[in-house]
Symmetry: C2
Subunit: 411 residues, 2 copies
C-alpha cells in the first residue's frame, strides 16, 4: 500500500485542492459562458452515457423540458422524441467543466452560475437549483415547472447577475466553513449555506433590482429554497478538483458521479472514468413513499464528498442524520469510516461536534481498496417517474469496483 | 422534595409556558407602545436597583447615551449627571414587561420590538440589538455609537415596522426550533436565528422600503448582525414566562437577571426577586483581553435559560462551546446538569446532537436546592469601562442562595 511516487503525487494533489479559492463571479446563459458549448448540446450529470445505457425517467423528462424551454416545440411528447436525435447532442456536463444536479440538463439558454477558482483561473458551471417538489431536474414538464424555469432563467438570473456585479465576486468556501458550524454537511443539507448566501447578496440585490417587486420575488425564492446553495458549492468543488486533475500517479479521487445508468469515479492520476453498476440507496422515505418508488441515482453532487463534505462531514450534521432516518451514532460512524479512506483532514472545513477536527479530506483509491471500506455518499431519493420529485433522502456507498479499476489504470 | 401541591403547580406553570405562541407584531417607540411607560423613565436590565447599589460602567454610559439621544443635552458629562436625578427615573424594565440587553437602557424614543403571546394576549418589549463593538448597551457614547442608535431608532425601525405590517406577524418559536438544528443555543449564539429572521422579512422589506438604498442599508445591517435575533427571542421568552407567573405554589424559575450589582431570580409562585451577589464568569477572552478587564454581569438575556435555551441547549451548540473556550464534552456536561434541575424536556426545542431529545425545560428551584447544582447560564463578557464593548464570552452559575431564598418564600 506504500508507493512513494503516489504518496508524493497525492500530497501534491491534496495541496492543489486545499489552495483553491473559488469565487462566484457571474450568472450567465450556458450557450454564452461555457467554453466549447455548442448550440444543440444537452449536458447531463455523471459519466458519459453509452449509446445503450438506459435513460432514467428524470433524465428523459429533463431532456424533453430542455427542448420545450428552448422553444423547439410546445408538445412534451414530441420534445422527448426530438431530444434523442441530431442535431441535439447529449454530453456529459463534466466534458465542459459543468455539473448537473440530479437529472437536470443544461441547454443553451439555461442560466448557470460561473465560478472561478482564483488560484488557477479555471471556471466551472452549474445550473440554478429550482427548489423541492415537481422540478425539471426530476423530469417534470408540468406547466408550473416550466414556468418556474422560465422565471429562473430570465428575471431571476438577470436580477442575481446584476446584484453580483454590484457586490463583486462572492468567495464560496468561507460560506461553506461557516455553514459546517451550523449543521450543514455541505451536500444534502444546505440550509445554513443558503441563508448565509442570501445575506451576502440581499443588500446589493435590493439596490440593483429593476423594481421592488422583482427584488421581493427574488428574495422570497432565496429565502424559501434551502437547497439553493448546492450547485454553487458543486461548481466550487469542481474548480478545486480540477486543480488536482492530471497529477501523474495520484490515486486521489476527483469525481464521484452517477448518470442514472452507471456510477463513475475519476482519480487525479488518470483522465478516464471508472465505472460500476449503480449502488443501492438506504434512507428514509417521505410519508406514503417507499423503496420501490425510487428511481436510479443520477447527479454530479457527490463531488462534495471528494472535497471532504457530505458524508465526510456527517458527524457535524446531526439534523441531517435524523432526516435520512439515521442516528448521531451512525453519522459519527460514517465520518470515522471516511477518515480511514482519506489522505488527510481538511484545513478549513471543520466539524464542531468533533471539537473542530478537520473533515476527512481526499478520498484515496488505494486506501479504499486496502481497507475494503466503500466510501459513503449522501443523496436525495427521487421518484422513478418523471416529475414527481424528491421522495426521500439517504446515503449509498460507491462500489469498490470503481476504485479497483482506477488503481489498475494507475498501474 | 416531594410536595404534591407544588408538583401540580409546576406542571401547570410548565404547560402554560409550553403553550405560548409569541409573535413579533410590531416595532414601535417605547414611549408610545409600552403600557405604563412615563416620559422620563429609563428602563434598566435585571432586578430593581437599590439606591445604594453601584451603577456599573456600561449602565452609566447607557444612561448618559439615553439622555443624549432624547436631546436633553449635547454634553455626555452633563447627560450622565442629569440622568441620576429627577425628573429621570431609573426603573427595572421587568416592571413593564420589557427587557434590557446588557447595560442597554430603554428611554421614551427607543425603538422596541413588540411581541405578543397569542395564547394570552400579553405583550412584551425589547430594544433592537446594535451589533458588536462599541455599542450604547456597553456604555459607549462615542459619536458613531449614537449615530448608529439614531439610525436604528429612526430609518431602520420604521423600515422594519413597515415590512412587518406588509408581511404580517412573525411567529418566533418556529425560527428558534430551526435555529437549534443549526448550532444556535438560543442565547449566546444567534447566527442561525438571525439569518432565518432575515429570510422571513427580506421580501416584504424590499417591497415596502421607501427606496432601494434604504432597503439595502437595512438588509446589510440584518446580514451583518449575527446577534440581531437575541432581543426578539428574549421578548418571546418573557411572554412565555409571564404566562406562568402567579401560579401559586410553583417553584419553577421564571426569570434570571443581573443589574450590574446583583443577581436575581423569580419563581412562578412568588412575585418577588430573590437576590444574591453577582457570580463570577468563566470563559474565553478575545485576543489581548483578560479577566481583570471584565465588567460585572448585567442584562435580562438569561431569561433564555428559563425557557430551556442557552446553557440548557449547549450540547447542541458545539461551535459556541469552542467560542467560550470549552469543549464538546463540557457542553454535554452543562446540558446534563440542566436535565438534573429541570422539570421536563421542551416539546419543541430539540437537540440534534442528542438524537432530537428535548432541551432541559423549566428550572425547578426545589431541584436546584436538593441537588446543589447551580444552574449554568451563557453570557457575553463586556469591558468594565464604558464603550469598549464585548471582550469575550463565557458562562456562569446562578448562586444557590437565590433558590434557597425563593423556596423559603414559597414556604
Amino acid at each position: 500500500m506504500t508507493s512513494m511516487p503516489t504518496d508524493r503525487a497525492n500530497q501534491d494533489a491534496l495541496a492543489a485542492i486545499a489552495a483553491a479559492r473559488p469565487l462566484l463571479v457571474a450568472v450567465g446563459r450556458a450557450g454564452d459562458v461555457i467554453p466549447g458549448f455548442a448550440a444543440h448540446d444537452l449536458l447531463h450529470a455523471g459519466p458519459p452515457l453509452a449509446a445503450d445505457d438506459a435513460r432514467c425517467g428524470a433524465l428523459r423528462g429533463a431532456i424533453a423540458g430542455a427542448l420545450l424551454l428552448e422553444g423547439v416545440t410546445d408538445d412534451p411528447q414530441r420534445a422527448a422524441a426530438l431530444g434523442e436525435a441530431a442535431p441535439w447532442r447529449l454530453r456529459s456536463a463534466d466534458s465542459c467543466s459543468a455539473l448537473g444536479t440530479f437529472g437536470g440538463v443544461i441547454s443553451a439558454s439555461s442560466a448557470v452560475f460561473v465560478v472561478e477558482n482564483a488560484t488557477t483561473g479555471v471556471r466551472t458551471f452549474s445550473a440554478i437549483n429550482e427548489g423541492r417538489g415537481a422540478a425539471l431536474r426530476y423530469g417534470s414538464t408540468a406547466p408550473e415547472s416550466l414556468a418556474r424555469m422560465r422565471w429562473l432563467d430570465g428575471e431571476f438570473a438577470s436580477t442575481l447577475g446584476a446584484a453580483l456585479r454590484e457586490r463583486g465576486p462572492i468567495e464560496i468556501f468561507p460560506l461553506v466553513e461557516q455553514a459546517l458550524q451550523m449543521g450543514d454537511d455541505g451536500h444534502s443539507r444546505q440550509k445554513a449555506a443558503s441563508a448565509l448566501f442570501m445575506g451576502a447578496l440581499a443588500p446589493a440585490l435590493a439596490m440593483t433590482a429593476s423594481d421592488a417587486q422583482v427584488a421581493a420575488r427574488a428574495l422570497a425564492f432565496l429565502a424559501e429554497n434551502d437547497f439553493f446553495f448546492l450547485p454553487i458549492g458543486m461548481a466550487a468543488a469542481k474548480g478545486a478538483m480540477r486543480a488536482a486533475e492530471g497529477t501523474a500517479g495520484a490515486s486521489l479521487v476527483t469525481a464521484i458521479a452517477f448518470n442514472g445508468a452507471r456510477c463513475g469515479i475519476r482519480i487525479a492520476g488518470d483522465a478516464r472514468w471508472h465505472l460500476a453498476a449503480l449502488p443501492p440507496i438506504e434512507g428514509a422515505y417521505f410519508r406514503g413513499r417507499e423503496a420501490r418508488d425510487a428511481g436510479p441515482v443520477i447527479g454530479d453532487s457527490e463531488i462534495m464528498e471528494t472535497l471532504g463534505l457530505g458524508a465526510c462531514a456527517m458527524a457535524g450534521a446531526p439534523a441531517l442524520a435524523r432526516y435520512v432516518g439515521g442516528s448521531v451514532a451512525q453519522a459519527n460512524a460514517f465520518t470515522d469510516q471516511m477518515y480511514a479512506v482519506t489522505l488527510g483532514e481538511h484545513p478549513r472545513f471543520r466539524i464542531p461536534a468533533l471539537d473542530g477536527r478537520g473533515t476527512p479530506f481526499g478520498i484515496d483509491a488505494r486506501k479504499v481498496v486496502a481497507t475494503g471500506i466503500a466510501p459513503v455518499f449522501n443523496t436525495g431519493i427521487a421518484h422513478r417517474e418523471p416529475g414527481v420529485g424528491q421522495i426521500g433522502a439517504g446515503y449509498g456507498r460507491v462500489p469498490l469496483e470503481c476504485f479497483r479499476s482506477a488503481l489498475a489504470a494507475l498501474g
